[in-house]
Amino acid sequence: MPAICLITALPSEARPLIEHFRLSALRHKHLRLYQGTLTWPCLTKAKANQTSANQNSTIQKSATSKEVTLYLLQCGVGKLNAAANTGAMLEFLPSINAVINLGIAGSDRPLGQTLIAHCLQDKASSQQWYPHLPSPKHIDNTVSVKVQTVDTPACNYTDDIAFDMEASGIVTAAAKVLDLAFIHSIKVVSDNHESTIERITSKSIGTQLTNCIPVLNNLMAALPFDTVPNLADAEELSQAVQSRIHFSITEQHGLSQLLLRHKALLGELPSETCLLKLATAKSICQHLTGKLALASISY
């Protein structure tokens, strides 16, 4: 089951999401974390079971329900808080597959308009990242802009930039472990030329964040989890074997590769019982290598 972490800076940004997704607090010494489960019906691409080792698989579209573990991190204001908390969260929750930053931003666009970042830029360093966005039609044709992270609030509004104070910190930390197809930033316009930053209230933030939930839902549904290879069963077998037989680090890597090749070439993983009978790491690797040397592909 994929795991997504929503990241907001302020409690008033987090509150509507916690309520909407019915998240409950997760105990952690330093982080403000919440957790829940999300299920929604959607169209997913499901790979038909491979009937043979020749990879003759077909892609089928089927209506299924998709379930994800949803976390929320309230990281505090500013890019340093954002980077430090995101890094700590990803260390604490290594199963996270995607992070989505949500929050308010200043832009010369209508108040309350939901925007998605096609570029995240740290203004101080000019460093930038380009999230790989889903099709506009999958996210309600939400307008995309550059989200520029500033160190102090900015008011030189334009319609192609949204100012925030956390996004670059989040992406700096998250891009160490996640691909840019799984790091996104959704912003709601909280201030513009007509309604400046002083007029932002806790209540207005709550309303604006509530309004962006439909786009958030569509973005989460469009995240391409299905295209990432599933290595879980091979990894599980590898761990099970290693819990009984000592493998050096090199042998551990070798075992993982051999198990994946076994599955690819022979259509299934070897049996755990059979592997454990071999008693040593070396003999297991030799056995698998010998078996794979005889494997052939037929088209």
Partner: protein, 330 residues
């Protein structure tokens, strides 16, 4: 195409505007240089391949490059150029998966700079020069959008000392069949046995469609080339490739084929390592390989047997002067 990144430098180019006009619903993202996106870390080729974006850019410098030594079809001066990076097809053996971090398509819209470099390179050589298109992309697959080959043919029509090879798996040949063939151009199709194409060459036209395209081009007077590349190992290799040669040579006039080449399956080790990480479930990439000359390939004996078999099949169908092995068979 859902997302189009556009270098600010090319935003106003008529060619850029023409391409943008074909995708009215795409989101447009202005960028400084294509490398900001294309070479950036934290990208997943496989994930992007599912929904690639288009990047419109200007190519600066090194527009025409010398080919590797074995890459030729008889000429002495051999070059390649890429007006595009990446391919709409998804062939599991393709080295582009290992070479690039991004699966987004880059189209360099300064076509005229390519043609100028090709003309300069041609004029610098006394002997004819060969230019290979389709090294980092499929030459024709996006032709309805780019119209690059259409304009390239006009350029080569005025360069009798230059030869063009258009390498493709695409059946987008309208821009060729709608004009008079030019003498100094070879349209070369990459061909694999039907079952291999179905299993490993995702999103490509079927073998039959490629053969039909070859026949149409040949009937119209275009020089055609056959590229059996890469040769993939299979338990039923001889059956697969016998059938392939039979299908191809029963449809076309072998005596009029400009050139035929064979190519063994070889990948630089870093590319291979990246590809197997992307596609651990691929049987093709999980097969036994050995390292030779810093390349991963089938073991030497297997490779030689495969090449010998194909050569023996071709010997009865083509003349020696039509055959160009990519490697010499010991």
């Amino acid at each position: 195409m859902d997302t189009i990144y556009i270098e600010k430098e090319v935003m106003s180019f008529p060619r850029t505007q023409a391409i943008l006009g074909k995708y009215p619903n795409a989101r447009h993202v202005p960028i400084a240089r294509y490398t900001d996106i294309f070479n950036a870390p934290a990208q997943n080729f496989r994930v992007q391949k599912n929904n690639p974006a288009l990047i419109l850019a200007k190519k600066h410098g090194n527009l025409v490059l010398p080919t590797p030594p074995d890459y030729h079809i008889g000429g002495h001066n051999n070059y390649y150029f890429s007006h595009m990076l990446n391919c709409i097809y998804d062939c599991r053996y393709c080295f582009l998966q290992g070479m690039y971090r991004s699966a987004n398509y880059v189209v360099f819209v300064n076509y005229d700079d390519f043609f100028t470099d090709i003309a300069t390179t041609t004029n610098n050589n006394t002997e004819p020069s060969w230019f290979f298109s389709g090294y980092d992309c499929d030459s024709l697959a996006l032709e309805p959008m780019t119209h690059f080959i259409e304009q390239c043919l006009d350029a080569f029509d005025n360069l009798p000392k230059a030869w063009l090879e258009i390498r493709t798996k695409s059946t987008q040949i309208r821009n060729l069949t709608s004009r008079t063939p030019i003498d100094n151009c070879v349209v070369a199709y990459s061909l694999s046995p039907e079952n291999i194409a179905k299993s490993e060459e995702h999103k490509t036209p079927t073998l039959n469609k490629r053969i039909s395209a070859l026949k149409s081009l040949q009937d119209q007077g275009w020089k055609i080339g056959l590229r059996f590349d890469p040769l993939l190992k299979a338990q039923n290799f001889e059956q697969l490739y016998s059938e392939l040669f039979e299908q191809v040579f029963s449809a076309i006039d072998a005596s009029l084929v400009h050139s035929v080449s064979l190519g063994p399956f070889r990948l630089p080790k870093p590319f291979f390592k990246k590809m197997i990480r992307l596609y651990p479930e691929s049987a093709l990439l999980s097969a036994n390989m050995s390292m030779r000359d810093n390349m991963l390939s089938y073991d030497e004996k297997t490779e030689t047997n495969m090449l010998h078999f194909c050569e023996s099949q071709l010997k009865d169908r083509i003349q020696p002067e039509q055959y160009f092995p990519c490697v010499s068979v010991s």
